[in-house]
Subunit: 339 residues, 2 copies
Amino acid sequence: MARARNVPTLDDVARKAGVSTATVSRCLNSPEQVIERTRNKVMSAVEQLGYTPNFGARVMAAKRTFTIGAIIPTMENAIFARGLQAFQEELHTRGYTLLVSSTAYRPEIEAEQVRSLVARGADGLLLIGYARDPELYAYLHQRSIPALIAWAFAPNSDQACIGFDNRASMRALANTVISMGHQKVAVISGIVEGNDRADGRLQGIKDALVENGLDPSSMPVIETSYEIESGAKAFDQLMQSPASPSVVMCGNDVLAAGAMRRARELNLSVPDDISITGFDDIELARILTPALTTVHVPHREMGRRAAAELVRMVEQKSVGVSEQLESSLKLRGSLKSLN
Amino acid sequence: MARARNVPTLDDVARKAGVSTATVSRCLNSPEQVIERTRNKVMSAVEQLGYTPNFGARVMAAKRTFTIGAIIPTMENAIFARGLQAFQEELHTRGYTLLVSSTAYRPEIEAEQVRSLVARGADGLLLIGYARDPELYAYLHQRSIPALIAWAFAPNSDQACIGFDNRASMRALANTVISMGHQKVAVISGIVEGNDRADGRLQGIKDALVENGLDPSSMPVIETSYEIESGAKAFDQLMQSPASPSVVMCGNDVLAAGAMRRARELNLSVPDDISITGFDDIELARILTPALTTVHVPHREMGRRAAAELVRMVEQKSVGVSEQLESSLKLRGSLKSLN
DNA sequence: GCGATCAGTGTAAGCGCTTACATTTGATTC
DNA sequence: GAATCAAATGTAAGCGCTTACACTGATCGC
């Protein structure tokens, strides 16, 4: 409150350089409009004073922030890290800054964060997955804030998105698993409520069972949060139930890592006693022993393209084009053929 | 640019509620000053219009943002994730919002980000480690922006910090390693230049060698970026050199994970053929096979305390008190005693 | 040599909010 | 019922910046 008021302003710079504030502003924003001699004077004044433009004031006057907000469920594990990093890099080359915040998978926090980022002047928003209150979309629409949805793909939605088909990808993996002779499948899924990606993946497994004449309703499914520890606990539970599965399919690599850890702690050999699969193909997957069979998602590619498209939307060069990326299966040591 | 101008402002709300802008503002910021009947009118107008205060304008007028900025080297791996998550949670309970940005370990980008966050009105800043241009500290000081340094501890610095002694912690681990009979130590270190933590850890190993009458100058050291892949490559290099080490001590768990992966790919057994150690004790450490011997750092605790202290500083209730946390050794399967 | 043109610069009007200060309201007191 | 005073509300001055518009003095064509 009683903060030192020695922070230099545009006025100070102008006075020091002996020009008007308009000229200083132009030096900073469109230098080509200012003759070199003047510009030098101004720049050296800026330098000497250690002047940094006040962002709030700038936004108010100019209505553009060159800021993109991203709201992700969590930073605590690596699921979004890689894609987000690429997203940021790409934004940076285009002159935009990224602001990140996380929601801990709580919709009400997400809504709050959206408003906060919008109030902060985000020119556009990156959101994860579809499932959210339609009011939020209305809010963004009213404010004409472009939003792009990543990590999911649904062509029939009216929101632009970039991602892959979670359901089809998981179905493909499940089909492979079943074709290897696994009949007794158990699942450790992420929380499905409010999470279209988790839901899609679970449905994908069920699709595959049905296709292969198996009964999805008898399949043990545990829903739990996307944490290693949760994966471990869920694996425990699964192992205590009578119907002992030959394969545990996990909603993502993090859950799979937890399951594998617990398997080892229970002296179960993966994949000899039990097979385990993941989803995402984050770095984790390759350093596990045995390496994890999973679905590879082109995270970096997705982040990069998302940045490109979102910037296009912000600059009104696009109304938002959806793009589907291909995932691919990575068959590694954690899955064993029973044939 | 041609953005729809249908975004409601304070004025709109005031008009709709039939009161002055001051009253609306008070309803939002200190509701107890407004009588209930008026407040209800105002709130319902806010509701109907879908009004969100313009952050920039608010900052300009009020000089406070309740925003804390954090600048971390990377979000791509989990080193900072856990601590940062705790940091954010604690901030949230105290009514502050966190803005995160990352620097990819590049000092010039860090300086840029500092300015950007300050311009955005961050009331305080969380920085990682000491090593940075003194000018940056001067800049923050001039602007009276409190900054707290985390993940490092140096009591003699004039910057407030919260962390642990990287050098002593690593020395303790190295001493244990040596006491287990390892004489041939090799190191995969993070890039030391501009990174006091990486440097401290490396020095800690050398300290231990000296204490035990070994020659640190003959110890193979590879400096590389904190990535799994880099750890793997470095391990390769180390194995190709003639002096085959009995233990590879890594600057952090991520490097160690890479080293272990490569060891497996080279058909070297850990720990029978070679021992490997890490630093940080991120979740990774426990899911590796064998589990990684490492130094446990209380990341969450650090994040939580950092938030508390930084808020205190911002609210001028503290000038910045440094706090040292204890690390501890986690001896796990990746380190084998030769005695 | 004179007006047209134009690059370079200055002037000043906001942008949407908070808050010191002024004013009004209404309860309380005698 | 008038005087008093605190509580509730209104008025208006900025906060630091951008930018439309106005101005100045060269440069140019004829």
